[in-house]
């Protein structure tokens, strides 16, 4: 049984239909690379999965059970952690406070700042993120460091399904490799990961399966073991036959 399933998900913003009936699933312990052109609907799908948006239509299931997420808190309670494309950091607050945003550990009803600082430092060390002090406000950090802190938050929060929306976009080569090895670590721990990326090499490096979106629909799906970078790029730009392996309901024919 899939760990997570979205069936027939639609989401409209005013005149724009960002998701036009998406079917998407993630097996336990699987790493899925979600790809597609700008505006294909990847971030919107991630936000539906993590409870930030409510789908207009369609069903979300976790371990086979239908779920209605009214907020990211509901999804987090179901074991879904997320890194948003826009990171979602509070600039004025410290690194530690941002790693624990909305999930501050408490002791005797009070926020346990000591534990927050210690655990934040621990996650940063694991991810090999170099930040002089976890007391620094994140406003003073570089784009890459900020991205790492958002990732650190999702990693620390844990959960069975980790969503990463373009986690390597603003990173240097070394930090990109850190994130990729982090994704492998997560899989070793038995967690499922959905990683949105425009980098085919990265996706082929860490993912088990590639899902390609186009114009608000899933337009193709490939097992990484049985595909090439050229084929995936073809799917993304939309000029290759998009016959999906396991019978995805949508073909490029209806998209053309």
């Amino acid at each position: 049984m899939p760990l997570f399933e979205a069936v027939g998900v639609r989401k409209r913003f005013g005149g724009v239909e960002a998701l036009r009936g998406v079917d998407f699933s993630v097996e336990p312990g699987e790493v899925v690379g979600l790809m597609g052109d700008n505006g294909a609907g990847k971030s919107t799908l991630m936000k539906v999965i993590c409870g930030a948006y409510r789908p207009d239509e369609g069903e979300i299931r976790m371990a086979g059970r239908p779920q209605v997420f009214r907020s990211p808190r509901d999804a987090a309670a179901c074991g879904i952690a997320v890194v948003y494309q826009n990171l979602g950091l509070v600039d004025q607050r410290s690194v530690a406070a941002n790693v624990f945003l909305g999930q501050e550990p408490r002791r005797f009803g009070l926020v346990d700042t000591r534990r927050m600082r210690a655990e934040a430092r621990e996650v940063l060390t694991t991810l090999r993120i170099r930040i002089p002090s976890v007391r620094m406000p994140v406003a003073g950090l570089s784009g890459g460091q900020r991205q790492c802190i958002a990732i650190a938050r999702a990693v620390h929060q844990g959960g069975e399904l980790v969503l990463l929306d373009e986690p390597t976009a603003a990173l240097g080569p070394e930090q990109q490799q850190n994130v990729l090895s982090l994704i492998r670590d997560l899989r070793k721990q038995g967690k499922a990961v959905v990683v949105v990326s425009h980098n085919v090499d990265h996706v082929l490096e860490v993912a088990d399966r590639v899902v390609v979106m186009r114009g608000g629909l899933v337009s193709g799906m490939r097992d990484v073991a049985a595909t090439t970078a050229a084929e995936v790029v073809g799917l993304i730009v939309g000029n290759a036959p998009a016959a999906a392996h396991d019978g995805a309901p949508h073909t490029s024919g209806e998209l053309a």
């Binding site: 409870g51 600039d91 408490r106 620094m136």
Partner: protein, 339 residues
Amino acid sequence: MTIQQQIAIAYRVDDSGGSLVRRLLGAREFGVLAATAVIFLVCAVGADGFLAADNLLSVAQQIAILGIVATGMTFLIVVGEIDLSVGSLHGFLAVELAWLVTKVGVPVGVAAPLAILTGVMIGVINGLITTRFKIPSFVVTLAALAALRGAALLLSDGVPIRGSRNEAFTHLFAGSPLPNVAAQTLWMAAVVAIGAFVMARTKFGYDVYSVGGNPSAAAGAGIASDRVKVMCFALTGGLTGLASIILVGWLGSANPLTGNGFELSVIAAVVVGGAGLAGGTGSVLGTFLGAVITGVITNALVLFGVDGNWQQVATGLLILGAVMLNHLVAKRSAHGLNA
């Protein structure tokens, strides 16, 4: 880069925040504290009678009302909202209390909690309108400012109402439990201490900073932003109720014009204390110092014999100066520590 290289470029990690002195100097409140000390000294040297015991006592009494309401306003401004109606609300709740006691005959032990409850309810209404209808809070509370002043005048027929003559009541809110320390001052000390603690150490305080700092990040992290905001409005309303009770206990009557323009002093105290009107920054301790500065300057202007109208000009200039200073500090502290 190899792991060896990474280790070679060892970098200093220090999560302790440094020595106590360094943390003190680095704290956002340090600038306000220094300013408070300087202004206090200037007044002590320059204004005759400033240091007289009864003058200091009356300054402390005036600061008490300001400090209590400004503590609530700190939560509101940090969460990214504002309440312009606190002055009118202060007047209305004072009139309500006196009216209940004198005209209706409600025991003051019931009427006083009712004033706080009314303040909380009006705060909740302001908050719900702001969050549900997505109307800026300065518009919503500007309307409340007008409506509540009208209500205070209607309820009192435009004339002051006598308050409670209950001795226990007067003693509790306006007595002098320690020599040279007024009850008001103790009430304010308690409110400021609890408020500072709640803001800095509780989950609610963290939520307030998060919602004010980046609303969409807070929502993305599952924080119920609207509820947090409404609670800040309610808190401000409740504390304004407490301030009205203290005022009625102190003066023994309620004037429907009480608190006219008070919102400006409150906002000045919060802003002077280091809070940014954009939300996400500020602290109760800073606000307390801001209230002291505002109170001391007002008092000094009186002692210097400055025309009352000039005091308003001074308040305005104080707000402007503080906002400009905060702007500079915010730029600087983006690269500093934030304990």
